[in-house]
């Protein structure tokens, strides 16, 4: 009987304590800097090295590039860059390998959509997703 009463004491005490829940959709939840959210892509920086495509465990990135239009310059420039968020697991490996930080993580995590097609994000969309960009990105590459 004492055990029961002790337990009741705990619940009663909790009643007056501060509530711990977030009022999520009403108040936005802030995420720490390292949070792995939807990627931001910067076409200017991309050198079309294809590393992100190769490292992606779910093969959700597709990209195409073409020769640099300026004949004086070497290398390639990016043509299309798509991430399929139906299968992207936001594992962070693409940003980890990117040598130029062209693809980086942001703090955005709201990906819900009414249609599967909406989850297929192209280069423009990813480029415009440019707020709350993570400050550290390819830590392992730098090392």
């Amino acid at each position: 009987m004492m055990g029961l009463l002790k337990g009741m004491g705990v619940t009663l005490k909790t009643m007056s304590k501060k509530k711990v829940t977030y009022q999520y959709p009403d108040e936005p939840v802030g995420m720490p800097d390292r949070f792995r959210g939807v990627q931001h892509f910067d076409p200017e920086k991309c050198i079309v090295c294809n590393q992100c495509v190769r490292v992606c465990p779910t093969d959700c990135i597709t990209l195409t590039g073409r020769k640099h239009p300026d004949p004086g310059k070497r290398g390639k420039i990016i043509d299309t860059y798509d991430i399929n968020f139906e299968i992207c697991i936001l594992c962070d490996l693409c940003t980890e390998v990117c040598p130029t930080e062209a693809v980086v993580m942001t703090n955005h995590f709201e990906l819900a959509a009414y249609s599967r097609d909406d989850l297929f994000k192209n280069m423009e969309w990813l480029h415009e997703n440019n707020t709350e960009i993570r400050s550290e990105n390819n830590v392992n590459a730098k090392r």
């Binding site: 337990g7 909790t14 009643m15 829940t21």
Partner: protein
């Protein structure tokens, strides 16, 4: 025959429905607070309209009857469960003036009618043609029948003390001292047994969510489900009312604070009981079926019998005999 005779019950029904909506909200709020949450806040100010929205949703939902169910029994079961729960409210005296049916055998009526609900639950569980529902219904029948006995036995002490089965008389007999003190054993037995009768935690075996999914009402949807829920909460109302009347002195004030109207006193005690019910629900795990039976037959029933014996004994002792 005044208009009150006809209007009264209608008003009561509305009041009870109002209570039920508030009680469900209150329960969710209390549970929320006790769990470090805020409870419902989205619908209406302070979440007040949450239950209304839920009920509306239930009414709008498709009414599904399983193909292999016994259709007639399936339809009638929620009614059988609900009607007695509401009918017992008639005899509860809220104050010395607000009482709808001041009948001589009020207490007996209450207990007799309330046991009909079991049939509703049993019929509901059986007619669903679902194994979980059947198990839940069987548990429910076993549990309610077992606990009816200690429940009745425990109130015998009160009846002996008050010398009446009329609930108004019982309250009047408590003007000097509430029965909770002299009938402490009886009260404990009554309270535990009433928890079991109400199918509330820790005795919520018939609808044990983690074992039987939802127990007897697993196949019910829409307003039929709402009826079962309603029956459960109306029953909470009735049982809390009965506990107040039998042991907490009904509308009698404490410390002679008569400046508060009797109805407020009744409501305060009544709400305390309801709160304790919710509080218990927030804390305790569920008891197991065989342990439940053992508790009922091996602990509560002997205790209730001892209580009767002691009450009779003390009644003859001069000095304190008045209180028993």
């Amino acid at each position: 025959m005044s208009a009150m005779t006809f209007l009264g019950p209608v008003v009561l029904l509305l009041l009870v429905l109002g209570f039920v909506t508030i009680a469900i909200l209150f329960e969710r709020k209390v549970l929320g607070w006790m769990q470090g949450r805020v409870g419902p806040v989205q619908v209406g100010p302070w979440g007040l309209l949450q239950t209304v929205a839920d009920v509306l949703k239930l009414l709008l939902k498709e009414d599904i009857i399983p193909g292999k169910a016994d259709r007639i029994l399936f339809k009638i079961a929620p009614v059988i469960a609900f009607v007695p729960a509401f009918a017992v409210l008639a005899v509860i005296p809220y104050t010395d003036r607000i009482v709808f049916a001041d009948i001589g055998v009020g207490l007996l009526y209450f207990i007799a009618i309330s046991s009909i609900t079991t049939i509703g639950i049993l019929v509901g569980g059986w007619s669903s043609n679902n194994k979980y529902a059947l198990l839940g219904a069987m548990r429910s029948a076993a549990q309610m029948i077992s606990y009816e006995i200690p429940l009745v036995m425990s109130v015998v002490g009160v009846i002996m003390a008050a010398g009446s089965l009329n609930l108004t008389e019982i309250v009047k007999a408590q003007e000097s001292l509430w029965f909770i003190l002299p009938q402490l054993i009886g009260f404990v037995v009554f309270f535990v047994a009433s928890l079991a009768e109400l199918n509330r935690t820790p005795f919520d075996l018939p609808e044990a969510e983690s074992e039987l999914v939802a127990g007897y009402h697993v196949e019910y949807t829409g307003f039929r489900f709402a009826f079962f829920m309603l029956a459960e909460y109306v029953y909470v109302f009735a049982m809390a009312g009965l506990t107040t009347v039998l042991y907490l002195g009904g509308w009698n004030p404490l410390f002679g604070w008569t400046f508060l109207p009797p109805i407020v006193w009744f409501a305060a005690k009544f709400l305390l009981i309801v709160f304790i019910l919710f509080w218990i629900r927030a804390t305790l795990p569920r008891i197991r079926l065989d342990q439940l039976m053992q508790l009922g037959w091996k602990v509560l029933l002997p205790l209730a019998l001892v209580n009767i014996f002691l009450s009779a004994l003390f009644k003859e002792v001069s000095g304190i005999g008045n209180f028993f």
